[in-house]
Amino acid sequence: MNRVWWRWLAAALCGGLCLTAIRVEPLQADPPQPPATVSAIEYAKRDVARATEHARRLGEAAAAVAQKATAAAAAATAAVAEQKAAEREIPTFTERLQSVQQAHASATKTRLAIEALTRQTTDAEVLPKLKTALAASLSVSSHLAAAVVEQQTLLLRAQQRLKIAGQAVTATVAELKSLTESKAVAEKSFTESLELARSAVERSTWFDTRAPTLDPEGIHLLQTYKHTSGFLNAQVDPTGEHVYAGGLDGSVQRWDLFSGDQTGLTGKSWVRGLACHGKLLISTTYTGQAIWWDTSISPPKQIRSVAAHKGFARAAAFSPDGQYVATSGDDHMVRIWQAATGEKIAELAGHESHVYHLAFHPGGQHLVSGDLMGVTRQWEVGTWKHVRNFDSAPLHTYDKQFAAHCGGIRAIAFSPDGKWLALGGMGEVTNAFAGIGVPMVLLFDWQTGKQQQVMKPASAFTGSVWGLEFDPSGRYLIAAGGGGAGAMWIWKTSDAKAIKDFKLPSPARGLSLHPDGFRVAIPFHDKTVRIYDLSAPPPAIAAK
């Protein structure tokens, strides 16, 4: 095992050195991008450290299991040998017993014959001799009887030994089997961790070589995390260490982005709203609950659950300073809570339909919320007064054929500088009940409130935007969603048409940008959360 470990380390080191020698060509004709964020490079280095440490731990664990398995194999071999030895004793003791039993029977027969002669004989001369012979016969018979008992005892002991040996074989073989399986699992985990570490080294080395940039043509899959039911949302925590995903089984699943370790936070109802800040995670459920989780401990612990809304609680968001939590729901309300205490401090009425999403402006002074009817309202933080509405009607359709309202504000994002507001959903609906419409993002100038772009995929696609983020530069919008199929789209804020339609393997239900600015976590209907890298891939991956 140790040899494997050192072999990997040597290969990784060699690979890193080799990569540094590769000359990198510009990947696209985009205008010059700002220098790569330091954080992305630092995150990559941290990933290497964490992934390497994780692989080391798994390597040690695998070695320990292998050692136990070896010991178990020896024990099993010894047990089998003992069983065979015990088995060999049985015929010997059985034979001896039979021999003694036959002798005893013969002696008994002789004794009985002498006794009969003694009774029949009247000859005074013969009689004493017969008595002497009888006494001798009795003595022999008695000794032989004792010998029979002794041999029976010995045979019993041999049988007992065989039984114990058999039990030992069963136990040690079971132990060996279990440890062999554990060893296989541990080795698989170790191999996977090596792959993770190798990938992290490769990525970090690549970033050292060339400042990371968002490369729509280089989007590649990093990780796939599998669960037993579909997801409705995902959120990467601010430290970039974990991704949380809310699912149709009512749970929130957490994956460690370095190790892939999965932890389930149990719940009873579908989870759509997820928000992280500091050591807090808020999840909102379809039974109207908003649940506070303390993520500073592992596994995260539920510390509070409040009845936030009547009907679905659709969304949650932290204010940038972490002081407030805002939630919204099917009761047409937006509610504001003290993040630290869970105390309700404001109720924002005004929406006339289900409030699907909400987000705080990065400046911390305003909150926006969007509803099913395509109404987006801006509220002032502190006074909680309604400020203005954004014209997001294109994201709502009343389907006359089915007599139903369709669409709504499914995703909200602000550019990091607060200059842009983006609203995502589905427009141009032609069949509400079949979900036939166009994924759409409306881009607004925050200052003027005017709509700047109506953004759509580059090619024909039906479905809705479910998740939306700006990249750290604020020049790109990244969205994920789907209908019958899934896709991720990238727009420049200057253009209505997407510069990239990236096919996803299943309808996506959200999108969360990693703090490194290049990775995105996407929750899927197909019971997975996948991590994609939006930066130009290292040459080895690009070659694939």
Partner: protein, 424 residues
């Protein structure tokens, strides 16, 4: 020529009804209609069996209504709630209906083996699977034929909302076809044109009648009778235009029922029942939720629940449930499986309806599906069983037949029988 439709023992009845209708129409024109109709309505209200079908078009989800399965991977996000019927739980999307469950029975074991909209609707409204070259009459036409008093001035079968077709009467004849009321309420052109005086109108009608009577002998057939019947029905409708003046409905009811189209149709249905209409179908559209089933069921059932429950409460309060059968049906249910659009697809394999009022044990449940709702595991039934049950509930013999050109047509599929478990 013999009359070949809607006959059997009722050939002379059809003739009688024809004449009585004409007489009533003439009386109406002469100004006696108010007195006649008021007394008839009172009589009808106390004796006549009436039926209201709520048809939830597109296929409402049984899991979001009558047979919830929360906590399973097919159950969706909604919880189940207790109801006014002990031990009966339904989906939380129907909180108002839950308070009326003492009046409603549930049939949870329907398997129509049909996932096509048209064919499913046909089974549920005729009791039979579609057959090439033959049309069974719809429930509304059949009950109009059997329950509507011959002297009734009003159509026996009225449809509110989308979904009425003249062909529903099939061989029973156009007289029993549904009258579809438009969105705004009254049948179109109900008022006499201003340019025509009442006297001239009456003269025209009498002239048409005389000509018709001279023409008719030896020529009776369905087309001719339908032609004459349509004038008579129009005359009767014009005479009872007050029934269709829905502006007179109590304004306070709008608060209780709601202001949308379906709520208004529930109020109209109540008013029509009070005026003696035999069979009313109220359609509510739409539930064909292949995408975002849960959001759309919140929306659609949110519209359905309160007016329907208020309608049931009002029927009960007025003592009308004793003679009014209420049925809530769809063409099929929706798949337990939640598809990739968070939708549910067509599902005729294991689904439910609700019915109550006349002849029905309120709070009863018959049939059962398995844990995930994928299969009927107890008392599987189809459209035939349901038709026998409807007939029994209103006191009709479902073992009898109609006759189409002398050929017997069983009123309900003889291979099935009524659900005695939910009948009084």
């Amino acid at each position: 020529m013999n009359c070949h439709y809607a006959c059997g023992t009722a050939a002379h009845l059809s003739r009688r009804s024809f004449l009585q209708g004409a007489t009533t129409g003439a009386l109406g024109m002469l100004g006696f209609s108010g007195m006649v109709q008021a007394s008839a309505a009172q009589k009808l209200a106390s004796q006549q069996k009436q039926v209201v079908v709520f048809f939830l078009k597109g296929g409402v989800s049984q899991l979001e209504t009558w047979d919830p399965k929360p906590g399973t991977d097919t159950g969706g996000p909604f919880q189940k709630i207790s109801t006014s019927a002990p031990g009966v739980e339904i989906c939380e999307l129907l909180p108002h209906t839950a308070r009326q469950m003492q009046h409603l029975a549930l049939v949870r074991g329907i398997n129509t083996k049909e996932n096509d909209h048209g064919k499913g609707a046909y089974i549920m409204q005729t009791g039979y699977r579609q057959q090439p070259g033959f049309e069974y009459p719809y429930l509304g036409s059949a009950f109009s034929r059997q329950l509507n008093p011959p002297d009734s001035p009003l159509p026996g079968y009225i449809c509110l909302g989308a979904g009425a077709r003249a062909q529903e009467a099939a061989f029973l004849g156009p007289k029993y076809a549904p009258l579809a009321l438009p969105e705004e309420g009254a049948p179109q052109n109900l008022a006499r044109p201003a340019s025509l005086t009442e006297q001239h109108d009456m003269q025209r009608r009498l002239l048409r009648q005389r000509i018709g009577q001279r023409f008719a002998p030896g020529r009776r057939d369905s087309d001719l009778e339908a032609y004459n019947s349509s004038y008579e029905q129009a005359a009767r409708l014009m005479a009872r235009s007050d029934v269709f003046d829905f502006s007179k409905m109590p304004a306070k009811d709008e608060e209780r029922y709601g202001k949308h189209s379906f709520a208004r149709n529930c109020r109209v249905a109540l008013r029509l029942l009070e005026n003696g209409v035999t069979f009313i179908k109220v359609s509510h559209t739409n539930y064909d939720t292949h995408s975002e089933n849960f959001n759309f069921h919140i929306e659609q059932l949110g519209e359905f629940d309160r007016p329907f429950a208020t309608f049931m409460a009002d029927l009960h309060e007025r003592g009308m449930l004793q003679h009014t059968l209420v049925i809530v049906m769809s063409e099929f249910g929706r798949t337990p499986n939640i598809n990739s659009k968070l939708g549910r697809d067509h599902w005729g394999t294991a689904w439910s309806i609700a019915l109550g009022g006349c002849g029905i044990k309120g709070g009863a449940v018959v049939g059962k599906t398995n844990e995930k709702g994928t299969q009927v595991i107890d008392r599987e039934v189809n459209g035939g069983h349901l038709f026998h049950t409807y007939y029994h509930a209103v006191g009709l013999d479902s073992s009898k037949s109609f006759y189409d050109k002398g050929r017997p047509v069983a009123k309900a599929d003889p291979k099935t029988d009524a659900l005695q478990e939910i009948l009084v």
